[in-house]
């Protein structure tokens, strides 16, 4: 595989991690440690499948127009709705019922994985490839395979660009706007934020719901674009890596563009280098992204830079009456 093709593949694959880490960064900035991201990605995939099935039914039986716009819109919309609902559920338990965030997150993950498999069994596993083409179809039409610039930057489906735009905008909002400052203050010190008149619960709810909806898109991308409509059964692995990526990029979604590329490159490396796939050592090469994460965790804890410190109140449930 040529180096250009490798980078192109890595950029495409990075979208899964990018959606996940952008969503989780927004969530964690508000002080909610949502370990349900793997489950939410699964829910996103299942939602995309629901949307795709509904759209295909509309096309087949009601004479609805079959085109790329609706073909992409339906799965994405349903994925966003399902992701937001999962986020709402997480918030209800952690913010309103004051349950421990790790427990709710892990339960969400279990729930999401189970729901994903069951929904695909009910809906059937085939048929989505009809819409997969719309997702993988190159967004900018006139791309020649010989031009490296066009191949690297213009040869992807719509969701890849969406992920990059969303993460850059999220990064700018978090760091450069008043809204972002408020959000960060809620995550750093909710009691102080509350004292200044900020509605902590509202910020946490909104940030978590938006974050979950974005993370769910990672599942949608994996299912509809990367696999072109073939269901895949280890989505949760990608979800955990997205959670790790958040630490890697220091809770900055815009840095996630680079971080996710690195993760994706490490992930697809064993399939690209010239190792015989029968060689057992390939299983060790496949561990590269996990080693990378561990090394990043260690480096970020040893060097006590400002970057490596997460929101102070991360994972702490806020209850006004507590001191």
């Amino acid at each position: 595989m040529s180096i250009i093709a490798f980078i192109q593949q890595a950029i495409r694959f990075a979208t899964i991690f990018l959606f996940g880490s952008t969503g989780e960064s927004i969530t964690e900035r508000s002080g909610h440690l949502n370990l349900g991201v793997p489950g939410i990605m699964c829910v996103g995939s299942a939602g995309a499948a629901l949307g795709a099935k509904l759209y295909l039914t509309l096309v087949d039986s009601c004479g609805f127009p079959m085109n790329g716009f609706f073909g992409v819109l339906f799965p994405v919309l349903f994925c966003l709705i399902c992701g937001a609902l999962a986020g709402l559920m997480f918030c209800f338990f952690t913010a309103t019922l004051k349950a421990n965030q790790n427990v709710v997150g892990l339960s969400m993950t279990t729930f999401g994985i189970g729901l994903y498999v069951v929904i695909f069994q009910i809906l059937g596993e085939s048929g989505y490839t009809r819409l997969g083409g719309y997702f993988t179809k190159v967004f900018f039409d006139s791309v020649s395979a010989s031009n490296w610039f066009e191949l690297l930057f213009l040869s992807y489906g719509p969701l890849v660009y969406l992920a990059i735009i969303v993460s850059i905008i999220a990064g700018l909002i978090i760091r450069k706007t008043k809204l972002g400052l408020t959000l960060r203050s809620v995550g750093e010190n909710p009691s102080a934020a509350d004292a200044t008149g900020i509605n902590v619960q509202k910020y946490r709810y909104v940030a978590t719901i938006i974050g979950s909806a974005i993370a769910a898109l990672g599942g949608c991308f994996l299912f509809m674009d990367y696999m072109a409509g073939q269901p895949l059964y280890n989505i949760d692995t990608y979800g955990w890596m997205a959670v790790a990526l958040v630490i890697f990029v220091g809770w900055n979604p815009d840095l996630g563009v680079l971080g996710s590329f690195l993760f994706a490159a490490a992930y697809i490396l064993p399939d690209s280098i010239k190792i015989d796939s029968k060689n057992p050592l390939i299983e060790i090469v496949r561990l590269l992204p996990y080693f990378l994460t561990i090394i990043i965790l260690i480096i970020s804890s040893v060097s006590k830079t400002k970057l490596s410190n997460g929101p102070k109140a991360l994972g702490v449930t806020y209850f006004r009456e507590d001191r």
């Binding site: 421990n100 427990v103 892990l106 279990t110 189970g114 498999v117």
Partner: protein, 373 residues
Amino acid sequence: MEKAKKTPLLHISRRMDVPRWEKIVIRVATFVGAFVLCALICSLFKWGTFFNFFQDLFGSLVSKSASKPLRSLINTLEEMALLLGISLALLPAFKMKFWNLGAEGQVLMGGFMAAMLSKFLPNSMPTALATVIMLVAAVAGGAVWSLLPAVFKAYFNTNETLFTLMMNYVAMGVITCFIRVWNPEHGTLDSLSTGMLPQIGGYSYVINIIVVTVLVFAMYGYLKYTKHGFELSVVGASRNTAIYAGINTWSVIIRTAVLSGALCGLVGWLIVAGADQSVSSGSAGGRGFTGVLIAWLGNFNPFYMALIAFFVAFVTRGSSSFATEFLGGNSSFPKITIALFFFAVLVGEFFLNYKVHINRKEKKQALAGKEAK
């Protein structure tokens, strides 16, 4: 003009002294509610199966074969024992606020070490000796897998949640690699050649249940009555306090995390030698994560954890037989019911710890009038 202040309809306050009978009533209501919720969801997936779910749930305790009347009950208890064993292993680490999410990997490494030794130990060796050697190796395997995150946690305060989580995948990768070397045609290692745990009274798994029962009491005593148990709870409450009290926090963190990993390794040995007789990268089967939830929802109390673990095993087996009967044998269906069960327990915990007040308008006005006088 001043804006009228809105009072929220509901507000909550923390409850301090809940009477014992009320605790029991709330908990019983929680569990009943959890089962009803699961049954409702089941009837959503397949209309009109509300009562069938309960039938399957309780049916999973009753054996159909006349020769082994206790088999179904023992199967449920065995599943409970494995889950409880893992959550007990996590308990000391959690009390120290060391969030060990790596039980999955530690269990796998324990099981793998046991299976590997069984492959290489000579057949002429007495079974008892082989069993002991495999047990030691399994404990060591689990301990090593948690040693690494523990050392970095102790010296650099590295985030152990994600570190241990990543170690899960490393364990799976290592095991897959060795399986591909030794047994490339299959996804698992060969069945054990030696060191299997014997059956008792014609039933397998009984030893697993006994070992975990002993572990419940041992862990209760360790946490409540020993110096170690005290030290780790101080470190968990405040590391600075522990340092000022003269506790060597570094050694406490490493010691406790290694104990946690070692016990996970022990459970791995139980899974391989006492139940599966073989190992694959899926041997832990998500129990590592369920164990985390059981420890938490059991309020870190070994006996209450045992109750929760029993219900989890009960719901798992009941809903998996429901899925076989009505949903075409979907092996992931129990995951949904288990998660719903946990969510229901979380709601119950809320009502145990908080009181909901309804702010009625009249009451407010009456109060305001009183104050004015």
